[in-house]
């Protein structure tokens, strides 16, 4: 092996990593919040919404779940401007992540809603609530509690998947690795470090989300 490992450059370039980490986390956070909202809206439309509305979320969910994220990203960034809809790299990355997570979380939320005992819907209606009120006040919170672990995993998957947004010049953690690589020609070291950072972020995110879950849902698991 004629290759000498060299991590000496880290001292010069660590701000690039820090910025990359920050952007990755920022994208993940905003995309998760917005994506879950989209997911809830779709799950509602699909399970409780008016009949004419139902095919829409289904088409959206199926399309997104059956195409690669990177193609969705390219389509949004390179393709949409053809329709006069132009976004910066960061905006396009965020939109792609929201659209992607929206479809997955819609299915997760739907499973959570469908696990709600029928009696809960009936108790809500018999107290005079309309469908939307039952959904909002009776169904949603226990459903979210039920699916919190699944949503957390999906948020982590989205964070890891966001590595490809560097392809459209969004300056995330992978971009940092690529940038350093092209300045120092230390490809393996740069990717090795960023992989380790991703792993730590994933583990940390899992703990943080579990912690948030036990904070906002202090009750024992709802069956």
């Amino acid at each position: 092996m004629h290759y000498q490992f060299d991590f000496g450059w880290v001292a010069d370039y660590y701000p690039v990593f820090l910025k990359g980490i920050w952007i990755t986390l920022e994208l993940t956070f905003v995309a998760t919040v917005l994506g879950v909202l989209v997911g809830i809206a779709c799950a509602w439309a699909r399970t409780q919404g008016p009949a004419w509305l139902r095919p829409l979320p289904i088409a959206y969910i199926e399309l997104i779940r059956n195409t690669p994220f990177i193609i969705q990203l390219f389509f949004i960034f390179f393709g949409l401007p053809g329709l006069g809809f132009s976004l910066s790299g960061m905006e396009a990355a965020l939109l792609a992540m929201v659209v992607n997570l929206g479809a997955y979380s819609a299915e997760i939320v739907r499973a959570g809603i469908q696990a709600t005992p029928r009696g809960q819907f009936e108790a809500g209606s018999s107290l005079g609530m309309n469908r939307l009120q039952v959904f909002r006040h009776v169904v949603l919170v226990p459903a979210l509690q039920r699916i919190w672990p699944a949503l957390s995993s999906q948020a982590i998957i989205v964070m890891l998947g966001s590595a490809v947004v560097s392809q459209i010049a969004a300056e995330d953690l992978t971009f940092a690795a690529n940038y350093i690589q092209s300045r120092t020609f230390r490809a393996f070291e740069a990717y090795f470090i960023s992989t380790a950072i991703y792993l730590l972020l994933a583990i940390a995110l899992r703990y943080v989300l579990a912690g948030i879950g036990s904070l906002i849902f202090p009750r024992r698991a709802v069956r």
């Binding site: 059956n66 195409t67 690669p68 994220f69 390179f78 393709g79 053809g82 890891l160 690795a177 991703y198």
Partner: protein, 219 residues
């Protein structure tokens, strides 16, 4: 300069789809075989085996597939192994697939109710006999829908290999875009081709799942 017609675009994309399919198949079969090995270590009696697989899974599920591809591509080369893109892509995807399949299958083995372990134990069967004759046959059936479902993830995962230069459907999309300046059309087609491959698999996974649930309720 030559002009691409819509047909040229589609034809070139479809030709590249071959490589997406080949790579998906290789990854899935290779990952499946390695996954079985990991599964046995994970549910086996040797503690080191279980711990090894636990961390293996953590590593591959906790880092981006893209990084795994980069490391396979540039990392293996450092050890004097000559890694063309297809080999790096195949290796990384197999390792990645194996981690997920091993974890999915472990869930299926654990989904077999405790009573089955106890009943077979009380008939005098040893661990391997229980596995072979009682647990795995049941786990196998439970495992089919999620395994088919995961094949969709593998196919979508192959799209990332474009970034290390393996010319499959996604890479063909980028290259053709650069020659035609029609990203909307090209990526639209690319998405449709992926959808045409993945959607039937997703659907059949859901249908198998439903069938299995109905079968379970009859018990």
């Amino acid at each position: 300069m030559t002009e691409f017609t819509t047909w040229d675009i589609l034809r070139n994309l479809l030709l590249a789809t071959r490589w997406t399919l080949v790579l998906s198949l290789v990854s899935f079969v290779g990952g499946g075989l390695l996954g079985v090995l990991l599964l046995f270590l994970r549910i086996g009696r040797a503690r080191i085996g279980r711990i090894f697989v636990k961390y293996y899974v953590e590593l591959f599920q906790g880092t981006p597939l893209l990084m795994q591809l980069f490391l396979a591509f540039f990392g293996l080369g450092l050890f004097g192994i000559d890694v063309p893109p297809w080999l790096a892509a195949g290796t990384a995807l197999i390792l990645w697939t194996a981690a997920f399949l091993a974890e999915i299958w472990r869930g299926c083995v654990e989904a077999v109710v405790k009573g089955q372990w106890e009943a077979s134990a009380s008939l005098g069967m040893g661990y391997l006999q229980q596995m072979r004759w009682v647990i795995l046959p049941q786990a196998f059936k439970i495992a089919i829908p999620p395994t088919v479902g995961f094949s969709v993830q593998v196919i979508k995962g192959t799209a990332l290999t474009s970034i290390i230069g393996f010319v499959e459907l996604s890479k063909a999309g980028t290259v053709v875009t650069n020659a035609t300046f029609e990203p909307f059309t090209v990526y639209g087609f690319v998405a449709l081709i992926y959808f045409a491959i993945c959607w039937p698999l997703s659907k059949s996974s859901q249908m198998l799942e439903r069938k299995l649930n109905v079968a379970h309720r009859n018990h």
